[in-house]
Symmetry: C2
Subunit: 333 residues, 2 copies
């Protein structure tokens, strides 16, 4: 568990695209973001207060989160100067970079000397159990996609926001690096050893109140041959009561797989639902989340209407039109 | 790659059950087994020549394989005395034990000093790629099961044997510890990190002659919620042309999961085949392997007849009645 709130380190990010993690934290957990720290030449700006380390400490920040991708696979000396100073001033560090903080001898030595923590969220910090498949109390919703990167994390986050506004009990459960940094906790599923994948998701979504919903971040796709095993483990470990079907209609081939055509929403439902019912016979597909970013507003609305009619399920783009319909569907279960 | 042939170390195995790995090597790769080494009190006997380390070296053995489970999760001093002597006499060591050889400081030090190899087949020794899903030359057959431990490895091994007798090009591809020790090579799939599972199977079954068959060892089951992600990765990484459906008809619940009923063979076919066709649209279910060990011969034969009629596919128990029917089905493709 990463201590909050955060100071968001943007380093020398060339542009906003490089600051994806920091943007996610600002958008989804604004209470966690007390300020931003930018180095000379930084081209990103979150619109948060620029702070020194000392100012951030005074504002209550506990952890410096690296909210930006690094360049060329190295953690530069410019970055390290700030990160070491942060450890010395009493901050923990958290990072989703491929280069692990713990693999940098200087950072590791200073963290040990100062008693601070280095959180590398790309690698598991827990010894997960093997899944036992036992029915757990509480309810669970999983976003499954026709492909990778179609908006599964965004959908679950948006639903959690609306549910909390309505006073429903809801917890977003992160299964990827960005989600873990945003919420401070979760399972980096793509880095878990095969035998423990489903068990890690059981661990992430334990017994809870009968009216509590876990909103589990999806990963990969049953139709994406590189990552389908990860998706399968999420479906069986997560034991979902409800599936949200996620789709990006303009994609011509599966992400990174030019020879593979994305499936239809019907094919996704007909494949995912019987598999989900192995672990939870009561599971239903309850709603559809469409990523319409490459469509005009008129086209997007027409497409959503068509999908609703064809699939008999509520459909929305949660980013563009809100996730209320999807939450209504959960509330009606 | 583990150097062959082997001297099979049986240690102080209390009985034959503990010597499963050694039995597998003797049965499936008799040319690899030059002899056995037993300690005082050993209750297992493979019927091979008892040899000292020196005799085994003279007989050409290159590697001492620990063919037996250890007790209580420790590698005893009695074992180590022999293992260290083996390293000093020029043998490599190979083991599928949960305790890794490399984690024993004395074994590690002697191996380094003598320049010998410690093969721990429970952990991957290769940095596997992420799967790219590209069509590979050659043919592949995968055994999929209604449950774990229904005879998938045995089925693939038996088919390889018959195919080689017939002069067909066939290679058993091990995906578990026992299979790796038997054949000297393979992928310990349950220990591979999630993102690389499918890629490890692509790596294991590369381009080959058009008339060559890889017989891929199955793992887990799509219906076993603890391990279904591993099975899914095998199906998509393996890109099989042919599936063999494996079943044990007397099992009352899924292995280790008392609340889960095993599926029918129909359900297995109807679940596995559409998923396999995502990676290989030409995939077919071509035969059925039934583990009849808990049935009388008359019951077994009646059951196989019934299954053949119901499923419209050849069915056999490869251990009891041979795997010829399954090989005929592959040859007819």
């Amino acid at each position: 568990m990463i201590e909050t709130p955060y100071l968001l380190f943007l380093g020398d990010a060339p542009d906003m695209l490089a600051a994806k993690v920091a943007i996610g934290i600002r958008d989804w957990r604004p209470d966690h973001a007390v300020g931003q720290l930018r180095l000379e030449g930084c081209g990103a700006d979150l619109g948060l207060t620029d702070m020194t380390l000392t100012e951030a400490r005074e504002a209550g920040a506990k952890t410096v989160v690296i909210g930006v991708a690094n360049r060329g696979g190295v953690i530069s000396q410019e970055w390290k100067k700030v990160l070491i100073m942060a450890l010395e001033e009493g901050f923990d560090l958290a990072s989703g970079l491929h280069n692990l903080l713990r693999d940098e001898p200087d950072l590791k030595a200073v963290a040990e000397a100062t008693g601070r923590k280095l959180h590398d969220v790309r690698v598991p910090s827990v010894k997960y159990p093997i899944a036992d498949g036992k029915k757990r109390r509480g309810k669970r919703c999983l976003a499954v996609g026709t492909d990778c990167s179609v908006g599964k994390m965004y959908t679950a986050m948006a639903m959690e926001g609306v549910m909390r506004e309505r006073g429903m009990k809801a917890t977003f459960r992160a299964t990827g690096q960005t989600g873990i940094l945003i919420t401070g906790d979760g399972v980096p599923l793509d880095a878990v050893v095969a035998d423990f994948m489903a068990g890690s998701i059981e661990w992430l979504t334990p017994d809870n109140d009968d009216d509590h919903w876990d909103l589990i971040e999806g990963q990969g796709s049953l139709f994406h041959v590189s990552y389908s095993g990860v998706t399968m483990a999420l479906i069986h470990g997560g034991q979902p009561d409800a599936l949200i079907l996620c789709h990006e209609p303009t994609r011509e081939h599966m992400r990174g797989l030019p020879d593979y055509t994305p499936p239809t929403l019907q094919a996704l439902r007909d494949t995912a639902l019987p598999l989900a019912r192995i672990a939870n016979p009561a599971c239903e597909a309850v709603g559809i989340s469409i990523n319409t970013q490459h469509m005009s507003e008129a086209d997007a609305k027409a497409y959503l209407e068509k999908v609703e009619a064809e699939m008999g399920l509520p459909a929305t783009d949660p980013y563009r039109f809100g996730s209320e319909k999807l939450v209504d569907a959960l509330a009606a279960m």
